[in-house]
Symmetry: C2
Subunit: 155 residues, 2 copies
Amino acid sequence: MPARISRLADFLPYLLSVTSNAVSGRIADEYNARFGLRIPEWRVMAVLGDAGALTQRELVGATLMDKVAVNRACKVLEERSLIARSPNTSDGRSHHLELTGAGKAMHAQIMPLALEMEALLFDALNEEEQATFKALLGRLRRRVQELSGEQEFSR
Amino acid sequence: MPARISRLADFLPYLLSVTSNAVSGRIADEYNARFGLRIPEWRVMAVLGDAGALTQRELVGATLMDKVAVNRACKVLEERSLIARSPNTSDGRSHHLELTGAGKAMHAQIMPLALEMEALLFDALNEEEQATFKALLGRLRRRVQELSGEQEFSR
DNA sequence: GCGATTTGGTTGCATTAGAGACTAGTTATG
DNA sequence: CATAACTAGTCTCTAATGCAACCAAATCGC
C-alpha cells in the first residue's frame, strides 16, 4: 500500500538530496569493495593523478572538500604508500603530494572504473540529457555559492 | 590562482554531490535559524502537514529516511509539542503521529518558506529547465534504485 | 490458542563530518 | 631583524548518520 506520497516528493531540494545520496552511496560501495577507498580518498587520487604534485591547500581548492577531510584522506593514502610527500622548497609549512608508482597503478584502474560507473548510472539519460543535466547542476551550484555570501569559495 | 581544476569537475556524480550538499546546507541553515528544525524534522513536519496522521513506518516510506532518523525526529518534535501520538487501535506496536495546534501553526509558516527557498535557489533555472531537471533527477534515482538490487524501497 | 516468525519501534555503538583551537612556518611593518 | 598578522596543516571535541542488536506486539501455521 503505497500510502499517498506527500508534496515533499515534488520539492526539488529533497529530490536532489535523495538522488545524490543514492548515487554517492552506490559509488562509495563500489570503490570500497574494489580498492578499499572511501570517497574523499578517491577524490584526492583522481586529482593528483590528473594534476600531478599538489599541496593540501591546492587539493582543498580542487576537491571542494574540507581541509580536515583532505588531510585525513592524505594521511590514509600515505600510510598505504599510494601517495608520497616531498618537501616544498618554497614554503616549509606544506609538502608536495604526489602519486607513487603503486598510486599511479591504482589510478590507472580507478579512472576507467569511474567512467564505467558513470556510464552505468547515467544510462537512464542520453548524451544530450547528460549535458543538460551537467549544465543545470553547474548553474545551480553557482547560484547557491552566490547566495551563500561573499566568501571566496571555502567549504 | 585558480589552479587548473582537474577532470574531477567533469565527473557527474561529483558535481551532483557537491551541488546537493550546497543546496542542503543552505536550506538546513535557514530552517535551523528560523525554526530550530533540522532537515529530518522538517521533512516529518512537511509530510504530516500534508497527509495527516501517520505511523513512523509510513513516514519512513514517505520520506525515504532511515527508520532511526524518523524515530529521532519524531521524538524531538514530540518533546517540543509540535506533534502528538495517539494509540493505534489496529496495531498496538505503533502510534498515529499528528501535528498539534502549534505544529500546524508552524507548518503554515514553514511551507511558504520552503517554496520561497526553492524559488530563490532555483532562480537560476527557468520554469522549463526546472521541470527538465526534476524529470532527469527522477529518472536517475529510479535507475540507481533499479541497479541497487531487487529490494523493495527501503533506505 | 501456542510456539515460531515477522514487523514496528527503540536503543546503543561505530563511523563520519565539521568547527575550533593550536603549532609551525611565512609575510608584512616598523 | 623583531614583532605582528597571517596561513598550511594538524589535532581534538562534538554533532550527525547509519547499522545491528533488541524488545514488544502482531501474524502465521498447526
